[in-house]
Amino acid sequence: MSDLLVDLSQQPMFRQAVKQLGLPLPMPEKLRRPRGPWEERPLQDRNVVVFAGGALAEVFARTLAPAGATPHVVGEAVTAFVAPGEAWGRPPVAHAPGDTPPEGLRADALLFDATSLRSPADLRALYDAFHPWIGHLGRCGRVIVVGRPAQGFTNAAAAATAAALDGFVRSVAKEVGRKGATAHSVFVAEGAEARLPALLRFLLSDRSAFLTGQPWTLDARVTHDGKAPGVRPLEGQTALVTGAARGIGESIAHALAAEGARVVCLDRPGDEGPLAQVASAVKGLMLALDITDPDAPAALRAFVRDPANALGHLDVVVHNAGITRDKTLARMSPEYWDQAVAVNLTAVVDLTTALLEDALGPQARIVCLSSVSGLAGNVGQSNYSASKAGVVGYVRALAPAIAERGMTINAIAPGFIETRLTRAMPAMTREVARRLSALGQGGEPRDIAELVTFLASPGSAGLTGQSLRACGGMFIGA
């Protein structure tokens, strides 16, 4: 998928010319994306500037050094970084608070521990930390602010302070987006600190390239054995991907297989050709099934339980299949309404219900594809938005019910992704959709696949019931 503007922006001469001529052209930064499956040290040689005034210095230290990062620690917390630095050959570099960053130091990430902030006046610490450093954030850098969830505070002022972090991060995301850099807020409930390293590893890495302005909430509701493999997280696991014949689904099937999963590729009858190609490329199984068929849930369960397929159960379920049947409400036929709701929502609910009976493994991970349209609404998509908002409600409601079984369910809301569907859009509409985001460009199917893979991994146990945008920071959406 080529985006001419992103390609041109790589040319120094083009950048120079646009600058000199004062053209009102956005110059989106080419995003740094990972090559190949999860690596042992996703942050190899990255400079991560840490502001660790709260309770998380130890967790940050134990996350960064093994991941290959060089910690630059502003303030006293540097002692927590000494032992991991010794073990992994990543001694911390200490910086005094208030000092100007050393000339020529490019920060690949700024990581702030906000867990000790309790009152609106404390928020000044954000300004004091980021003001001198934000200009030193490199291309495709990361800003991550970690606090406590607002709902965990009985004190309203403390809750307000926690909530403020979200607004701060969303604005920073928009300010740094033109550099290809992204920003996230992470809210860690008391007792869920051990689940933070896996998320930080993902967010700080190139795998989160197209995600930005996103709040993430970690809690310890889901039963978990504490295992969070850094490489081949899905080894020995089985996965189901619906709508796997092409586009985002195909990309997801590849990503899951690359991490060691045996993938069942499902798509509708009629698409057997491309489906078979994907299934064979990922060395997985193929299942041609109309998921809106009343017998589909039973058929899927039977397929999973069939000893001939040697699956036993599914560890990962990705409800990716989706359709649009766009018309303004006044012109929409009842068939359009029914089709969109049946594929995008009814099938998700019915298949999940059937699988939950006896076809899911312990610690199963369910990931549903929603859409920013579901969060923000869109002209001509009342059916589609209803179904996609329904998915958001579904994961929120189901999450607590399956937490004790060690299972999680989350939704992903993609924004503009460069696929067959978006290529068919009118050129101007497409151009506007691409540029109206913090990163100034569309995402690629693999960006969604990376987030799915993270949510499918054992280490994502802290996240459940959430809807996460993968939209490059679109102006619309929650």
Binding site: E40, R41, E86, A87, P91
Partner: protein, 437 residues
Amino acid sequence: MAARRPTQTENRRAVIIGGVRTPFVKAFTDFTKMDAIALGDAAVSALLERFPVPRADLDALIWGGVILPGLAPNVAREIALDLKLGAHVEGMTCTRACASGLQAVTLAAAAIERGEADVIIAGGSDSTSNAEIKLPQKWVHALAPLALGGKPTPADYLGVLSQLMPITDLLPKQPKIAERTTGEVMGVAAEKMARRNEIGRAEQDEFAVRSHHRAANAIATGRFDEEVCTVTTPEGTKVYADGLVRADTSTEKLARLRPVFAKDGTLTAGNSSPLTDGGAAVLLMSHAKARALGFTPRAAFRSWAYSGVDPADQLLMGPALAMPKALARAGLSLANVDLVDMHEAFAAQVLSILKMLASDAFARERLGLDRAVGVVDPARLNVHGGSVALGHPFGATGARMVTTVANELFHSGKETALLGICAAGGLGAAAVLERVH
């Protein structure tokens, strides 16, 4: 009282009878005309002069090498044939970068203990002076129709010419010691390790000076006489002694050298091992065979271990993983080991590994141990110098270390020694030797 009869296992145990090496000299000096095979010939013939094994009892040669001669890569067999050891003396050649020499010796010990052989000569040699300059494979592919076909037509010649453009693709590649996967030159990797483990220049220079002074002392007192042979070069020169050791070096002198791998770096020619030519050979036998032939064993292996790490991380840290593994297999702790001998690729690399072994944090995170492996007392470490002073003919170093340590155990009456070698590819090698009573 009658002596206890040795058990079957004791009889089969591989013991080290002794070793001999050529002098180690700087590349492109005295041994320039001698390739790895010629250096091997020199070491093995000298070994057999000192330890005259009846040829009929000699089973095999196992040889380690890194820069193998392209047209005759099975160096072991070539040595056996060159020296007319007898057609029955079979040979194999192994390569495990700088641990190739130790690999050859442990392969021999394993073969003897498994009962495949009773007497094996194992060792290694390398000639940096004879590194082959590789033509790009494009030449090979383009010339194949002319070289391997029947009668080439003018069109074939034209076809070959057209494939050989652009000309820059055809220039021979300069050989360098760089990782295949990362392209990183080893010195640059060691420079990074120095920085990441906070090893300073002064520390490295001091270590290098100690290595030189200890090696010089070993030479001056005749300690190396039994393990270094005289080599006559094809030009007729006789080389008696190691050529790289500087008795007169000092930290002041080394401090004047400029860093070679990074502008603001700490690694210099003085605290790194130089490119070297040389060979070393070790004679191993089953204990029963040694008794039968009347040879006195000097040492035996209690354990060995090899390890791997990601070359893109800390390329030369392998011994920090392999040495604890070998200790565990030997049922020993570092504190109980009398001697430690480490290959000195770079002073910075040895000091980095010593720091890792001494770190509680490293032991917990990387080895799954409760506390540090231990602090290595400089008095027990590389008592007769190491590769920084003596030089490092890649394949020979392991056999040199086994020889020196076996002799040291034998003469000093000490009981155990731990060896550690780092190698390209992120490999580590280690072994525990003990005296044989």
